[in-house]
């Protein structure tokens, strides 16, 4: 079976959608030379009209994409760093997201915002290490965080085909993964997946943390039977899929690379306890409140959710009842 890297899965999704649909085009900084190594080969295949390098004018080109979408195209914007989403939050939330309702349904804004290398890249410090997916879930913009190469392909394809704006976070911690993917296929938005079956506790893990959760589940095998649930899309969330899992295990731990206050882990726990009577209080492992990633590598690591914390959270939850 062919090995597919996460990065090349993104490249392939872009190429396949550009081939399938003439209205898909790419905008971004240094995408023609593929500085982020995601748009590699696309300039040659699709030409400069469809692979457009922009000046450093993020706010303008994000709304330019909104305009192009209003006129019938399907833009995909690549952002070099996750913190740029703060810069264009206004353009995405106040315009792209609001136009369909505000115009009484006269338009759609099918723009994809792709962030290759979200979260910590170790050593890129405070202004380059954010992971703001919970913000987009909060405002109700479709938000996906693929964990695997197959999902990177399938969710990016579905994002491009979606008639609403979609933010695709490709975590730095997952970008170098490879997997056997026989036939990459679209993955529906809003559908989670059980990555490992278990009976004692459901661990919900987001993005690259899915792999940490699987490793911890493996380490605890024999002691605790851990089910790992990967939501894949954070908004809209697959609540039915998660409730089905937690109804069987009766326990819930969430590991999430967001800041703790108002992070997606809080929403996951709240929704589950509204619907399921748990055997033990749920727990979450997150970044701290208000986290700013410090530069020094040991500090950077200390601020991110880790396997030791997850192991401890699982053990405490199982002990509690």
């Amino acid at each position: 079976m062919p090995r597919l890297s996460y990065r090349r899965a993104l490249t392939r999704a872009l190429a396949d959608e550009m081939t399938r649909d003439e209205s898909v085009f790419l905008l971004g900084e240094d995408i023609r030379v593929a500085a982020a190594n995601v748009t590699s080969g696309l300039l040659k295949r699709f030409g400069p009209e469809r692979v457009v390098d922009t000046p450093l004018s993020e706010q303008a080109f994000t709304s330019f994409a909104t305009g192009a979408a209003l006129a019938g195209l399907r833009p995909v914007i690549e952002f070099q760093i996750p913190s740029l989403l703060f810069l264009v939050f206004e353009q995405i939330v106040n315009h792209a997201h609001k136009f369909p309702l505000m115009t009484g349904g006269q338009c759609a804004v099918p723009v994809t915002y792709l962030v290759p290398g979200s979260g910590s890249r170790t050593g890129w410090a405070g202004q380059h290490s954010d992971h703001p997916y919970s913000l987009f879930a909060h405002v109700g913009v479709t938000t996906v965080v693929p964990a695997t190469p197959a999902d990177a392909y399938g969710l990016l394809v579905s994002a491009i085909r979606c008639d609403d704006p979609v933010v695709v976070f490709a975590p730095a911690g997952a970008m170098d993964l490879r997997a056997d993917v026989a036939d990459p296929a679209p993955v529906p938005l809003g559908r989670g997946v059980v990555r490992r079956a278990g009976t004692d506790v459901t661990v919900v893990a987001v993005g690259h943390l899915v792999h940490d959760a699987l490793a911890v589940a493996g380490d605890l095998a024999g002691q605790v039977s851990v089910e790992v649930f990967d939501p894949r899309t954070l908004y809209p969330f697959d609540w039915d899929g998660l409730v089905e899992s937690v109804s069987r295990t009766g326990r819930l731990v969430v590991v999430d690379d967001s800041n703790r206050s108002c992070g997606i882990a809080g929403e996951i726990i709240a929704t589950v306890v509204e619907r399921v009577r748990l055997l033990a209080p749920p727990r979450r492992v997150t970044r701290p409140d208000g986290a700013v990633l410090p530069f020094a590598p040991a500090l950077d690591r200390a601020v991110q959710p880790g396997r030791d914390q997850l192991t401890a959270a699982i053990q405490l939850t199982v002990k509690d009842g």
Partner: protein, 322 residues
């Protein structure tokens, strides 16, 4: 303000060798995350800061080591910062792109292109209101002139006559994007639109940069509004050290050779007798040898304190653990 050609040479030489030593430390794995080398652009930071007073304020960029050093930060503590040590300027919390030294008027390098100009404008405005006759200089690249926030800062500074020197380091590229592919109109024309005087200088000649800055600073300190200096320069090395590993093809080799031929360190060095130059070079080597030793001997910060300094109010954040 110094007219001393030896001091100017010392500054460009210090920045040059600092960057070369830093690149060695990137290769050795001591500097994690890499750096944006300032090699080739030394004349701009050195020339501008030579025309400033110690209490004047500056902000830098992602390519910011030169600005911090030229304004007078201790190279040993700067290098310790790049190595993520507690003895660093930012106690290991900032790294290359956030190095700051408020003690010498550096309100920080900044990793968001185009963002610092407005911050400096506010800081200078506040100090002037208090009666200080300081001025400021904010460095940014040719890429930043297309960021709305920088142009909005031009407007505020001009409208409220805040004495800020907007220093555009035009090295011809924003990462791989050439100026001609990104900038409509001209950089000086942007200043003109806000009624700001603009001067174009040869950024490879530290004395020309210094003299142009000194003239602007004299006008600004006497009550004049902001000005723009566009310094033409060339980046000798990679956009970022990741390019040492992944080659990106965007600058023709002949252009790189032409660009590198106009070397600010050589240009300023040629103005000094050889013996003086040699003495400065030896002193710089000794300073940097001591700086490397200091940085590598300094302890890394304790992970238990990863959230120290998060809040100035003393607020303590909840941790993220189970």
């Amino acid at each position: 303000m110094t007219h001393d050609p030896v001091r100017l040479y010392r500054t460009v030489r210090l920045i040059r060798r600092f960057e070369e030593r830093a690149i060695e430390l990137v290769r050795a794995g001591e500097i994690v995350g890499g750096i944006h080398p300032y090699l080739g652009q030394e004349g701009i930071a050195a020339g501008v800061c030579a025309a400033l007073r110690d209490d004047d304020l500056v902000t830098g960029t992602h390519r910011g080591h030169g600005h911090v050093l030229a304004k007078g930060a201790d190279p040993a503590r700067m290098l310790a910062e790049l190595c993520g040590r507690v003895t660093g300027l930012n106690r290991g919390r900032g790294g290359s792109m956030h190095a700051a030294d408020f003690g010498v008027g550096v309100l920080g390098a900044n990793a968001i292109v185009g963002a610092a100009g407005a911050i400096l404008t506010g800081a200078v405005w506040a100090r002037r209101r208090r009666g200080d006759d300081i001025v400021g200089a904010t460095f940014f690249g040719d890429g930043a002139v297309n960021e709305g926030m920088l142009l909005e800062a031009f407007n505020l500074a001009a409208l409220w006559r805040v004495p800020v020197l907007f220093v555009c380091e035009n090295n011809g590229y924003a990462t791989t994007m050439p100026v001609a592919g990104a900038v409509a109109g001209t950089i000086g024309g942007r200043a003109a639109a806000f009624g700001m005087p603009a001067t174009v200088v040869d950024g490879q000649d530290p004395e020309e940069v210094r003299d142009a800055t000194a003239a602007a600073v004299t006008r600004m300190r006497a009550g004049g509004g902001p000005e723009l200096v566009e310094a033409h320069t060339y980046r000798f090395d990679a956009h970022h050290t990741f390019e040492h590993v992944v080659r990106l093809d965007y600058r023709p080799p002949a252009e790189v050779a032409r660009g590198r031929a106009r070397d600010p360190v050589a240009i300023q060095g040629a103005r000094l007798p050889r013996s003086v130059r040699d003495a400065v070079d030896a002193e710089v080597e000794a300073t940097l040898a001591a700086a490397v030793e200091y940085a590598l001997a300094s302890p890394a910060p304790d992970p238990a304190g990863a959230l120290e300094h998060l809040y100035a109010s003393g607020l303590t954040a909840r941790t993220g653990g189970g």
